[in-house]
Every structure is written in C-alpha cells, then in structure tokens.
Symmetry: C2
Subunit: 206 residues, 2 copies
Amino acid sequence: MNTKKKIIEEALILFSEKGYSDVYVNDIAKAVGIKAPSLYKHFKNKQEIFHAILEELREDYTKQAANIGIHGDNANVDAGIYADVTEEAFIEMGKKLFLYFLHDDRMRLFRKLLTIEQFRDSELADLYSKQYYNDPLSYQGELFKIFISTGKFKRADPLVLALQFYAPIYTLLTVCDRQPEREQEALYMIEEHIRQFNINYSEDKQ
Amino acid sequence: MNTKKKIIEEALILFSEKGYSDVYVNDIAKAVGIKAPSLYKHFKNKQEIFHAILEELREDYTKQAANIGIHGDNANVDAGIYADVTEEAFIEMGKKLFLYFLHDDRMRLFRKLLTIEQFRDSELADLYSKQYYNDPLSYQGELFKIFISTGKFKRADPLVLALQFYAPIYTLLTVCDRQPEREQEALYMIEEHIRQFNINYSEDKQ
DNA sequence: GTCTATAAGAAGATAGAC
DNA sequence: GTCTATCTTCTTATAGAC
C-alpha cells in the first residue's frame, strides 16, 4: 500500500527533527492524514516504523553508492573521470556534491536522524561511522592512491589525504545541518579548501 | 546545597547518553539516591535541571578557554609558546589535547549532550557551532596568522588552514565518542595528519 | 529536605463497528 | 483500512506528613 510508504516518509521527517521519543504516534498519524490507531494496521508498533526507516536508509545508501561518485565502491572508474579535470572543474564538482548532500531530502533527513540517535545503541553508532567516516574515507583513499601512483598527486599516505580532504567538507555539512543560513559561507570555505588542497598535493600546480 | 550539584551531575550523565526525553525524573532521583519528589525542592521542574546543565556547560567552557590553549582567546600568548616547538613536540601536544577532550568527563558529556540535542532549538544549534566550529577555528586562525607573519608557515588563508588542521581532529573526536574502541586508530591518524600538515605548511620542513 | 500517597495528563496500543 | 472508544501504563508534578 501507498499509506505504508507515506507513514515511513512522514515519520522520517518528524524523527529526524525531534528524535524518536519526542515524536508521538499521533504526530505521525496526523502528518499522514489518518488517525493513530490506523497506523497499527501497517506496523506492529512505533519501533517497527523506526526499523522500517533504518531499512530504507540502508537501501538508499547502497543505491547512492552506485550512482554518486563519493561513497562509491569502484574508485578505479572514478579515477579515470577525475584524471583530466582542471582545478576549477574539481572545485565545482566538490561544491555540487556538497550541495547535493546538503539539500537532498532523504540524505539530509537520514543524516540528522543518525546524528541524534547515534548513542542509542551500537548498531546506530556503527552505521553512522560507516556512512560518514569509514566508507567515504576508504573510497577517497583509493582515489588518491591512484592519483599518487599516476603521478597526479605527491607521495603521501592516501588515507591521511582522504581525511584531510573529507573532514573539512563533512564538518561544514554538519554546520549547515544545524544552521542552514550558513550555506554561502560554507561554499566559500569549501572552494578555498579544495584550492589549497590542490596547491598542497597536486603535482601540476606548484 | 551539595544535592543540587549532584542532581546536575547525574542528570548530565543520563541526558548525554539517552537524551532529554528518555531520561525520567525518577531515573535522575535514583542516580542521586533520593526519591523523585525531592528533586522538586531543588528545581522547579525537569526543564530547569536541563537549563542548569546548560549554564554549567557555558561556565566550564569559559573557564577552559582560559586554561587550555585550544579554544583560547589570546592567540598572541600561545603563538609564543608554539613558536619554537619541534614537530614531534607539536604532535605530542595535538595528541594530548585530543585525549583530554576525549576523556575529560565534563567535556565529553557536554559534547554528547549538545550532539543529540542540537536540533531541539536554535539556541542549542548556535551553542554547538560556537563551541565546536567558530571558536576553535577563529582561535587557530589567529595562531596560524601569526605563524605566517613570522615566516614559520607558508602564506595561505589562515582560516582555511585552521579548518584543515581542526576538522580532521574534530571528526576523529566524534568517531571516538561513538566508538571509544577506535582511540588507537584515531591517535595514529592524528599523528600522521599533523605530520603531513607540517610538511604542507611549515617553512622549516621541505 | 526527604518521604509516601496521589493527582493529572499524556502516550502507546487494542477492541470492535463500519 | 479507517474510524471511535477505551484500556493500561508511564511520567511529571503536587500535597502534606515527618
């Protein structure tokens, strides 16, 4: 049924803003446009709704990993794409990717949900670290490793490069999640960060 | 009274782990060793306890700013201290500071509390950004500005340098808050990060 | 200042009609 | 599948004795 999907959708919006405990089944029902008892025809209880959201999150993430460059699992392919890109184009790609992660509803809502629920149990903690630390880092690490071996980048620990590239952008993303009005400032910082990163590591520049 | 202090202390521990709404006045009372109604002789209601914690957080932060280098408000003084420090000593300072922020109870609990409550209202959002983005960045920006003007560092936007230095360390701190078992891994990354940062920006190295 | 007893209301969930 | 009515339990908070 379509109602089941709508419940998940609306519950995600509510949970990501107020957290699991501060959203009442009545709130979800109201957002969906039904009465609270009707929810129980679609889900056994409130926790089941939360679990269904987590399932969607995992599915979405796997799909995104295939579509979007960042987080992807095939660095070799992407390395070819990035290989001949100019600095300005590289900056544009970084900004575009940042804006996608910031503005895409599902991306943003899932991220905020994991942020405020990350200490609830170790499953959520692991999921957060995987999606916002481990996977981006290992993917970008692979990418930089290739750049180094092809002489595009200077020699250095690829994983450290990945951390130095990714952490500033991730940090600015969390700033904008809290304070969306700082988007312009964040974009400026990202541009300057990538520019500086290129100066530090690109073999062409210097 | 000492009980009032103990209430704040225990409530902070509970709130920082489970969030405001999942901690019941009964839990707090039990942790303190009294019955729930007795809490109301010390605080008007549950929200007042939360506000008292926020007050402590702000006070602590101001004090820390004076004592600890990072977050401080007098970069000129600290610049003198750092001026003649070797790379290895610099790395040791970075690791020590990281471990302090990670292990100091109040620091850690306040940070986790703000993390899970940051979307509750704009006051908390602003507080988080101030303490974990704006203030560290502007302080370290000042420091790097001095390093650049004294020729210790290469010319670059000091604020971008600050972001590139701070964001990886901050990111690793959030990883360890979620997964304390990754402390060794984080320390290794911090060491390599600072080493690489020095290669990039120090005028001595090269 | 701490207790027991209890009020007042909220929140999750079920029963059963339609 | 949705509704109204209702149950049960939990949670905050107050009253009033000690």
